[in-house]
Symmetry: D2
């Protein structure tokens, strides 16, 4: 069993890592770390409000008793000597400090954006850009690390990149225009989206989000060159909004392909797209993309949990009447499952399989 540490274990993403890993067949949770404030407590105590006894566990799934009893270490001083892999679930500013510290000796898989845009860092999505794993060798060498850092994409990027991939491979893509309707869980709980701001409302701006999605999509679909990734030659434009939905990002996508194609062609290449099929990764969905022909789908509440939140659901694939070679569709992707801890776990599984971890 691969021995993993979860850093930022008391936060919501850290808790999702616990859920993703507590019954994992290949990976064992061997250490938990958080800020100094939690250090020295056992996990249960670290997420219990001392004033009123409120138990701040935010996942639907139950936390194993064994995990509740584990000690929480100070992330700055964590002993990682016996660890094979670090999952980092901290905010970006802390990631900037902590992740290279761990990467000096161990593989780090992160949900933070801190290192996503570095030249020698791939933004891996298993099955979409698995070949970019090779960049980790360059990274190690260039930085003199025994380990490496590989971050997840932003939770809004991932569903779009997955659904664009089979289109890109089959027909080429010239341009993508996307409007997102994002769930409030994407903003976390510190304090995230305030109830007063989102009830009976839409918030049409998420700071920094659009730039991330634009840049990451080009990098993920890019090609590995010598020591970096050449971004794909795709024009990407997004408008990112927040809607009153708990989990599950909905995205309205308009695509101009390079080769003409019909909606049925797009549905077919999406249905046939199954790059992880024969790898035996425990968290991999049977279908990376679930195409639903009901015109009223996908809907975040109904479709976010498809295949444990690991499959992206696509519907309303139509000819676009405005763009040249235009296609449009709607997708739903689970922002805190495939888009965060479970997606990072899938990346870990692929890296284990390929010998980069353990």
């Amino acid at each position: 069993m691969i021995r993993a540490a979860i850093v930022g274990a008391t936060g919501i993403v850290g808790q999702q890592f616990i859920v993703a890993l507590q019954n994992h067949p290949w990976i064992k949770i061997a250490a938990l770390a958080a800020s100094e404030r939690s250090a020295g407590k056992i996990y249960k105590e670290s997420i219990t409000d001392p004033k009123n006894g409120a138990f701040k566990w935010y996942c639907d799934e139950i936390c194993d008793t064994e995990i509740l009893r584990m000690p929480v270490q100070n992330a700055l001083e964590m002993d990682i000597s016996g660890i094979d892999l670090v999952f980092s679930a901290v905010e970006s500013d802390q990631a900037q400090i902590l992740e290279p510290k761990y990467a000096a000796t161990k593989p780090v898989i992160s949900t933070a954006s801190a290192y996503r845009y570095e030249q020698d860092v791939p933004i891996l999505i298993p099955g979409i850009n698995s070949e970019q794993i090779a960049l980790l060798d360059k990274q190690r060498k260039a930085r003199g690390w025994k380990g490496f850092i590989t971050p997840n994409p932003n939770c809004t990027t991932i569903g779009m990149a997955i659904t664009l991939k089979p289109i890109f491979d089959a027909f080429g893509i010239k341009m993508v225009l996307m409007t997102s309707l994002q769930a409030i869980s994407g903003a976390g709980r510190n304090p995230g989206v305030i109830g007063l701001d989102i009830l009976d409302n839409v918030i049409p701006f998420i700071s920094g989000e659009e730039e991330k999605v634009q840049k990451e999509t080009q990098k993920i679909l890019g090609t590995l060159s010598e020591n970096s990734i050449k971004p794909a030659d795709i024009l990407v434009s997004c408008t990112c909004t927040r809607v009153n939905v708990l989990e599950g990002h909905t995205e309205s996508v308009f695509v101009a392909t390079r080769q003409p194609c019909q909606p049925d062609d797009v549905a077919r290449v999406m249905r046939d797209f199954n790059p992880l099929k024969d790898l035996g990764l425990p968290s991999a969905p049977k279908q990376m993309i679930t195409v639903n022909s009901d015109p009223f789908r996908p809907q975040p509440r109904l479709d976010r949990n498809t295949e444990n939140g690991m499959s992206t659901t696509v519907g309303r694939i139509r000819k676009d009447p405005a763009l040249e070679n235009g296609i449009k569709y709607v997708l739903v992707s689970h922002n805190t499952k495939m888009g965060a801890a479970r997606g990072a776990t899938l990346t870990a599984e692929l890296l284990i399989k390929q010998g980069y971890i353990g």
Copy 2:
């Protein structure tokens, strides 16, 4: 005073007409009509549930006592001899039957889509395509009517058409791609959107809506030719979704202009756009477009009621990184005020001003 009849007076749009007209300086509510079921009752009785006494008045504003006491006539048999103007707030299938009946002798302003796509029927938005009023003369002549039918645009079309107009005039428009996040009030109450379907959810399809918006935008921005309107040469594509918002449609708009322009230029032409300024129409907003520079605006709950719901609020005007000569922005438009009864009232005011009514 112009004497107006409201047909479909017991429904939600009919009630909004009552609110828009009950204190109007130029127009007096002279008759109410609804289906046979309500005929013969006084208005208050017609909207009170006989089983349990529930009072089915759905507007925030209070209904005048005088209106509550008015008799409700059968729409099929209404006496319109003393009426100057009919506001039609019925469903499209009923509009198909009722509106030509009234138009034989009287002007009809309608919120139904039944006649919007007829060759000799303009879809008027005062200040946007006021010159298309002239088509009403052709319509009268062609159909042998003393009156005419002029329908409102769809509530999703109107905000987009208004905001495109100054861009169209200043820079030309090649293409528009829009994703709407529409309020549930747009679906009415028969039963409209079911609570179970929209809580914690987005519904990514509204039957027929996208086609309407595409077609109507081209017609509204088109040019009047001999006996019809030549659609504007603009490519339009929409994806229409429903979100859990009470009132106020939010639209994410991507525009490719013909002449290059900067976000500041767009903000300026929108701020300067004020075609109704000197007309003295009682329902006209001071600003047809309110440009808000706060990056988190417009928001439907905060901006829908700007100028009594008659001004369209625009924010987030940015350069689009994908489209050639691309601009993107977000708008909020009040779907049941400017987008329905109050918008129709504004049209009535312009037609009164121009001598087409009364």
Copy 3:
């Protein structure tokens, strides 16, 4: 295997029965019935909108392919000769007609209220009033039926009755005052609660609900006499409201006991209450009542699915400062699981165990 028919199979409660039964170890779905409109179709077709292909399956769980292929019979003409048990998920007016028809030859377990208040009909909750099963023998005899009708309690009654039972047994109960905050799923989909009515709102009235809860609570906690049930001598008063929650009824309960007791005593008798422990019923929760000491619990979204929605969660057990021997607490009960199809399935299991079915 017991062969069960589900009547009203196309509605939301019928679908929940399918979910509760499709992998059941003792019961097999042997027939589906619905209104004439669905008769003759296969199940999948009967819940697919012919106009637009929308698939009207409303449960989170997936419907087995085998069920989707089953034929749907006309409920009025269903052949029940090979059936051991009928689950009735129809509206009360239809239940009035259909249930006695089936009960003439077969056991009927119903979620409808039609027969709940008949003298010879028990309202069974396994473990709460299991001894009232004996009334079914009288019912059969009195009505000359081979089968019988036994209805579920109302979904608002069930959580309160379960949590009152251990208090009633240990300390006696003089009076109960309850305010419910009910989920919208309780109103069904025909059209149930309209989105416009419940967004940013509370509806303080549910027609007939309060009387049902008051009457049913007294009957469930009553004692079996010769040919009927003597209602418990408990004063019950409710105010039932609807809140914008999908599933899970929350109830604020004030109880005056006959013997003095402390909150700790109440928590203890609730925790110790486990009448189904040794019966081996497949749907029985491990704990009928889950006591949560976190002061912010129970919450419907977090607690409704406890033990597959079969356990009632109680929190905030406190001394009541106003009532003599007063105790107050808050409960959450899953209205469409324990409160409907799964609760009825649990009743079926107990009746099978006791030889009343099969």
Copy 4:
């Protein structure tokens, strides 16, 4: 004109004071104060986010340009020499420090709970316990202040106290049991209720709230004795919950009166209750209590704004089947209008009228 200072002017309650006072016929906003961070800025700047330009004004009403240009002082060092009255909209811990400082020389009307439970401090609701104003003379004398402190009741207390008053006067009250369904605006924005916690949910606990309502109700309905208020001999018990409503607290009330009475009697004494009728206070509602006979009312979204949020709406007045001399009803009260700034303004008006201010 009375010259008023608003302390805590940048917060949401402070903003509501601005709205309540900016066009007031008797009171002029003469000073604004907030924490040191805002001191020295003009008001507009103090509520604009310097990082992204977001304008943090949270009221539906527009803030007057004149107010936006006013300087904000440091609350700890504010010059109140030219001020006639201080409205305090700060949190309770700051109120503890700031309010006595101001009260040494000036009248202070507060929405904070800090001084509510002091022996010489009344919790005034005009028309409900106006006679308790006399306690302010004792307070001044006992504390050696020229001014005084008089706090508003808690926003959950106020609607219940108002509706109990005519019942109390006419029939006496032995006991009150209340369950509240409170709006999220009551929790403010620091961060108040997090969107993730309240969507599709109810939170059944509001720290300290129940004790406040119980104590305040007894004090408000109490009788003035020598140097304090003797609490009314009423047993009060509450369970306070939070629901996903923006504004407007809903309360389900069960009352045991001392004299028997019928629902019609209660409706009548509520309708006839109009103690402020002849005082000419500008903020006073025409009806302190609006009785609505529609069984589906009151609803927070539909009824919170009755008479500008100053009237408490009552519905569903029924005989209670459990309590001796029992009556039950539901009320809706606007928690941030009558329950906060506008309610405090009404108190100021009464004190001005009676010569305690100015």
